[in-house]
């Protein structure tokens, strides 16, 4: 067999049985009457080629090679002689050509099954069901506004309100820094003096403000609002907060 042709045509084999089938089909022989010597030679040749092509030859292929050689020599040797000598832990649990044929037939059967399954798969690829990977179905109930699997707009609103409420109550634990809330309150008021249109919320912070400064400034802001010194408003629900001196 010229290696060049094989180089082009060498398919990938799922395993030793697949390779054996390929060789049997190529040789156009009856599966019940395999010329073991010939097939074994071709099998070994293919393994060598695979190695030459730097294809990874899985150990199963080598085990099958050992099995084939064992069957071949058994056919040549008188029965029972050499059994022990040939008994190889690395060979498959296949002793005779008949056993090999049985295993090949079984494998062939499941190859046919796989082909059937492929046909089912192809048919099923053509129908589409709803993808529910992302999220739940939309259940709309006008009485509860929009209710979607238990979460409603009012719930979002309440969460937001709770957050605002918590903000008023809960003292934020921040590391003592160079700032105190009182100082920042004074600073805020002086910043806002003379700003008729107020200042944007983010404009109150220096570019380099750290987390604690931002939090403290925010607390100072809330405190000033509570004391009625400041008002904060939004032009639209997701617009910038604007801070004004009252």
């Amino acid at each position: 067999m010229p290696a060049v042709e094989y180089y082009v045509n060498l398919p990938t084999f799922e395993g030793p049985f697949a390779l054996l089938f390929h060789l049997i089909e190529k040789a156009e022989v009856d599966i019940y009457d395999i010329p073991v010597a010939e097939i074994t030679a071709q099998y070994l040749e293919t393994l060598q080629l695979m190695q030459k092509l730097n294809l990874e030859v899985a150990s199963e292929f080598l085990v099958m090679a050992a099995t084939l050689l064992k069957i071949k020599s058994k056919k040549l040797l008188p029965s029972s002689i050499g059994d022990e000598a040939l008994d190889d832990e690395d060979s498959m649990d296949i002793e005779t050509q008949e056993e090999l044929i049985q295993r090949l037939l079984e494998y062939r059967h499941f190859r046919a099954v796989a082909q059937e399954l492929r046909a089912y798969e192809t048919a099923q690829k053509r129908v589409f069901v709803r993808s529910l990977t992302g999220e739940k179905v939309v259940l709309v109930n006008p009485e509860d506004d929009f209710v979607i699997s238990g979460v409603s707009l009012p719930a979002l609103m309440q969460a937001f309100q709770r957050l605002l409420a918590e903000h008023e109550r809960q003292p934020l634990e921040v590391e003592a820094d160079d700032f105190s809330v009182e100082e920042l309150m004074v600073q805020l008021v002086s910043q806002l003096q003379g700003q008729k249109d107020g200042l944007s919320f983010s404009g109150l912070f220096t570019e380099t403000a750290g987390l604690s400064e931002i939090i403290l400034t925010f607390v100072a802001l809330l405190e000033l609002v509570r004391l009625g010194k400041l008002s904060v408003w939004q032009s639209n629900p997701f617009g910038e907060l604007v801070v004004l001196l009252k």
């Binding site: 109930n141 209710v147 957050l163 570019e207 987390l211 925010f218």
Partner: protein
């Protein structure tokens, strides 16, 4: 070619509301014709014979079950792992929805806790998305809500978000 079966099938399989223009592009039809077909489907499914309806949401169309069937439909999901968002996730989403575009630090400042975990969850569920970077030191990432967010809460667009009451606004 009759486009109604195709429009019906596309609405059914789409993972999100489909805008008429997108449907038109996929099936190779005029957007005008797709709109007409959508209206027709809406009418047909509005019949009391059907348990489904074609709804317009987040600038697209999608199938949903009819609202009056929800008590029965919910029985199907009884005992199933609920998909409701955690309180932390709701709060964070609320902040992002109202304050977008917003940085993670902004959110942490308001909530007073680290929000990295929650933000990851929200991004994984595609409720939020990155919308750019703030022109500030470190150029922090700015977040906004997504179309997924609108869908989850059944909003057509952000203007449908509940307004803060006067009282709440003053608290800020």
């Amino acid at each position: 070619m009759e486009i109604k079966p195709l429009v019906e099938a596309l609405l059914f399989v789409a993972e999100e509301p489909l805008p008429p223009a997108k449907i038109a592009e996929i099936i190779g039809a005029e957007t005008k014709d797709v709109r007409e077909t959508l209206k027709l489907l809406q009418q047909e499914y509005a019949s009391s014979e059907h348990g489904l309806q074609v709804m317009e949401i987040a600038k697209g169309y999608q199938f949903s079950t009819k609202p009056d069937l929800s008590p029965v439909i919910e029985k199907l999901f009884k005992g199933e792992k609920s998909y409701t968002l955690s309180q932390a996730a709701l709060e964070t989403l609320g902040i992002i929805a109202y304050r977008q575009p917003v940085t993670r630090v902004d959110i942490e400042t308001i909530r007073g806790v680290k929000v990295e975990g929650v933000m990851n969850t929200l991004q994984r569920r595609r409720f939020i998305r990155t919308v750019g970077r703030k022109d500030a030191p470190g150029r922090p990432i700015l977040y906004g809500t997504s179309k997924e967010f609108l869908k989850y809460f059944g909003l057509k667009d952000l203007s449908e978000l509940p307004r803060l009451t006067d009282n709440e606004e003053k608290q800020f």
